[in-house]
């Protein structure tokens, strides 16, 4: 574990395919096999052997926790940018279902740029 990871209490979640993962990354969610069994539990710090297992067992993607080193101002700017993008793509005439989807996606994107503790 790097010094930054050891000191960090808040993280950003990122979704990666196994080819993009590198040694030292921390899993944010359990990695499960297609039959539901846990291959690697949340919190595991990836080592070389785990990377081989991820690729070899046909895991499609993983969720990792990246230390959040942003200032509060930078975090707010990211949140504003995410919301603006969602509002932009939902411009124009709408319907009840489209409005519901707009709110769901906005909340999802906002959560994505917000820090979370590892235990969440």
């Amino acid at each position: 574990m790097s010094a930054i990871q050891a000191a960090c209490t808040h993280y950003l979640r990122r979704c990666l395919v196994p080819d993009e993962a590198v040694v030292g990354m921390r899993l944010y969610r359990d990695v499960r096999l297609p039959d539901g069994r846990v291959l690697l539990p949340a919190g595991s710090v990836l080592d070389a052997e785990m990377l081989v297992r991820l690729k070899g067992r046909g895991v499609e993607y993983i969720h990792v926790a990246i230390p959040d080193e942003r200032s509060p101002e930078e975090a707010q700017a990211d949140a504003d940018k995410a919301c603006q993008r969602v509002d932009l793509i939902f411009r124009g005439e709408s319907s009840q279902g489209r409005d519901s989807l707009h709110q769901i996606v906005r909340a999802f994107r906002l959560k994505e740029v917000q820090s979370c503790p590892m235990a969440e």
């Binding site: 969610r29 793509i89 319907s95 279902g97 999802f108």
Partner: protein, 279 residues
């Protein structure tokens, strides 16, 4: 809309790269829910280009010193869904690889994103996931043929659509006398794809043509297409979420609460299917 005009454009299907025969057969097997390990391996073996990609993906998994050289072994290792993704995505990527103007540059990624979302919607509704995936991949294939046949006249319609509020299919009918859904369905029919795929292409748009009634699979593809655009998966700078049919949502019985929980999975799966194209 003129059916003669649709037929006239669909008759020029040979101006697009042809769909490999093995892909048509795979889709037919999927429609009948008959795609198992042995059947899939047998079909894949008929196409050397697909064999090479499947074996490369199996060996990329780094299974110690084991080298995979048999297709059946590769299918067992990778699973039916993953081999299906490799075979169909790569074959369709070649069909989509025609030169298109900048306003159509996101067409392939938007189709791939719609496939992943339609598959997830189908999974939640308990309908055929594989057919939803393929129908999502092909739902906008009519745009490609319209451009290949009509060139700048179609490009002008796409640009007008980007700057206005009229749904694309409605604008296409007003300007060209045909829409991409009808042309895409005629093309799928010419490729001998199953009726469930043809009907879902015909009924996917946010502005249905006259006399078109959405099938159950068309509802799934329509919702999947809107969800893909809502998640902005293709990263198109000019993206705008199409109209979502309240009737399609109601008829399908989809719960948005379930969809919300599936969003991280959709993003992960999209990243995965994109990565398969590198093999």
């Amino acid at each position: 809309m003129s059916h003669g005009r649709v037929a006239e454009i669909a008759a020029q299907a040979d101006r697009l790269p042809s769909l490999p025969a093995v892909v048509s057969r795979l889709i037919a097997l999927m429609a009948d829910d008959r795609l198992g390990i042995e059947t899939l391996a047998h079909q894949v073996e008929a196409d050397p280009a697909i064999v090479a990609r499947v074996l490369a993906a199996a060996n990329a998994g780094a299974y110690g010193s084991q080298h995979i050289s048999a297709v059946t072994q590769a299918v067992q290792l990778l699973g039916v869904d993953r081999v299906r993704d490799i075979a169909i995505n790569n074959a369709l990527l070649e069909v989509f690889a025609v030169r298109v103007p900048e306003c159509m540059s996101s067409l392939w990624l938007e189709s791939l994103a719609s496939a992943v979302c339609a598959e997830e919607v189908a999974a939640q509704l308990g309908v055929n996931k594989s057919i939803a995936y393929v129908s999502g991949l092909l739902h906008d294939i009519g745009k490609l043929l319209l451009y290949v046949v009509l060139g700048e006249a179609y490009e002008a319609v796409l640009i007008e659509h980007q700057h206005g509020d009229v749904p694309l299919a409605e604008l296409e009918r007003a300007r060209l006398g045909v829409d991409h859904a009808a042309v895409g369905a005629a093309l799928a029919s010419a490729w001998h794809l199953p009726a469930v795929v043809v009907d879902s292409i015909l009924g996917h748009t946010d502005a249905l043509g006259p006399d078109v009634v959405r099938s159950e699979m068309a509802d799934v593809v329509h919702i999947g297409m809107v969800l893909a655009r809502a998640l902005d998966l293709a990263g198109n700078p000019r993206n705008r979420v199409p109209q979502l049919s309240d009737m399609a949502c109601l008829r399908s019985g989809l719960h948005w609460g379930q969809c919300r929980a599936a969003l991280p999975h959709i993003e992960g799966r999209f990243a995965h299917v994109r990565s398969l194209l590198r093999h």
